[in-house]
Symmetry: C2
Subunit: 324 residues, 2 copies
């Protein structure tokens, strides 16, 4: 059999397998509301070969925020679990660290006090967390800490407390030739450890906040160590900057959430691409099944209405919130 004939046979089989698969609903955890219809209509439009809105696969770039968009950001964001473990460990070894105002505030859970300490507080925290460790040492326990920590609100571990509708959306986009990325305000090195198992996204497709590192040697071997201060805060206007540096294109699809104003800049930057695009903003409005919280000025919800982003109400649009 010639290579050409093999290729044609494979293509025919794949086409058959794909059409057989397409019979089932790809988003079963979504209610039949306008949000789901808008997503499905958009994907159909940009994948319609020969259509006026067709977008070739390399440009089908989807970018997802993580905390509050793929997983609940309350009671605590995922990255805080290893960060708190590292700080407690560092304070046990060097008790003086516990007297630093930022470290004391975090250990007390005083997030307002921590926020008031600004960038110096953040750099103090970074120094306490990293505490002379290499990049490889700092990530060694991230996965097991998060996989094993029970989330009492949802009755599963933190590693399994994932929004099922968003997992389905990731799979649906992938099946339609999209490539999905994470663009999180959480630390890059921690987020990247979680992405493959929790979301099926490989580590190189993760963007996050970053602490400056430098090359050093330990026992004659090269290692990367932390320089002790923030290199990039990946939130708000920082998100389009990171996406452009990492991917080099305005995303076709962006998903984020209201709550911290963090995702509007990257959504606007996506909306302003030439050609079609889709922005999805999750509204945390379900006190019963998840949490109900809002920005005091409704900045993100107002922006969504102004710029034409699709708002997704957890209460109305999701049949299931967390998969069991």
């Amino acid at each position: 059999m010639s290579i050409r004939r093999i290729a044609l046979t494979i293509l025919a089989m794949l086409a058959w397998a794909t059409s057989a698969h397409a019979q089932t609903d790809p988003l079963p955890s979504w209610n039949e509301t306008p949000a789901k219809q808008a997503i499905v209509a958009f994907v159909a439009k940009v994948t319609q070969a020969g259509g006026s809105d067709f977008v070739p696969p390399p440009e089908r770039i989807a970018v997802f925020d993580m905390d509050g968009t793929l997983v609940p950001e309350r009671p605590i964001p995922l990255a805080l679990i290893p960060i708190l473990a590292d700080i407690r460990d560092a304070v046990a070894r060097t008790p003086d660290l516990g007297n630093r105002p930022a470290v004391a505030a975090l250990l007390k859970g005083d997030h307002a006090g921590l926020h008031a300490l600004g960038e110096q507080g953040l750099n103090d925290l970074i120094a306490a967390v990293t505490d002379g460790k290499t990049t490889e040492q700092i990530i060694a326990n991230v996965r097991s800490l998060i996989a094993n920590r029970p989330n009492e609100i949802f009755g599963v571990s933190y590693g399994r407390a994932i929004y099922r509708p968003m997992q389905e959306l990731l799979a649906y986009l992938q099946a339609n030739g999209f490539t999905s990325w994470i663009c999180s305000g959480s630390p890059l090195l921690i987020t990247r450890e979680l992405a493959p198992e929790m979301f099926g996204i490989p580590p190189e497709r993760v963007m996050g906040s970053n602490v400056r590192t430098r090359l050093d040697e330990r026992d004659g071997k090269t290692v990367l160590v932390f320089a002790g201060h923030v290199e990039h805060l990946n939130d708000q206007d920082g998100k389009p900057v990171t996406i452009n540096r990492t991917i080099g294109a305005r995303p076709l699809f962006v998903a984020g959430n209201e709550g911290g104003r963090g995702d509007i800049a990257m959504m606007r930057w996506s909306k302003d691409r030439s050609g079609p695009s889709f922005q999805l903003l999750i509204d945390h409005d379900d006190a019963e099944r998840e949490f109900a919280y809002a920005e005091p000025d409704d900045f993100s919800l107002n922006a969504a209405r102004r710029y034409g982003f699709q708002i997704v109400s957890i209460k109305q649009d999701w049949k299931v919130v967390i998969g069991k």
Copy 2:
């Protein structure tokens, strides 16, 4: 036919097609010298299923320097073509810019004088090149400028003056389940424009030096503009820092070149991974077919001998240098 049966049939066909393909020499532009043998032996070793040095495909990460490694860096590195065009354009519009010492030095080709101006000189150049443009405006002509500019040394355009042995190596690694990246000292935004057509590497797998950008608005639309100073110089110790931020792993395979000491840090960082690895250092020793140049202290060649990197002599190891 069941999906399972289709999958098995496809696998059997692919195995057959692969073994048929393996009969031909994948590196025909390489002489039959120890360099080629070492590359082939390494690839065989890490792809041998069940072997003690087997490396699973997601870890088969290969990182290539660009200037001097994939293309000649003389008479001028690729990125200088659009940079000079932008500077001449900016000076035509704002003649005062031409009086800035760094701009004057670059336009005269006085690279030593430019180097002496240090970081301030570099930031002056960046200001002149970017000159109020958006990131999208700055890259608009990069591809055509380089594709059309004749390279008189090699009798082809700059866009086609590519080392054929290295093109074959990229294809050979890809066929063996490696994922290749570029890690260049040249500006990220320019390098990324060239990588797909010249090297078959998608834009998101390119790392380079970077100028800080910030989100702005023009006519009510979001754009990224340049903040006018260097964010990261991707050379020497800066390369492992960027690779870790971008990929999050020590590469299995690294290729670089002597001439500017730029690639030794990332090669050492690869060598110090746990398990097998391969580092390839190109020696520019062929005055007849390419160029002969060396670092005054032979820093890179000495490092290659000390740490066990494979030196590739253009003169002895390459049958063909530039493909026509």
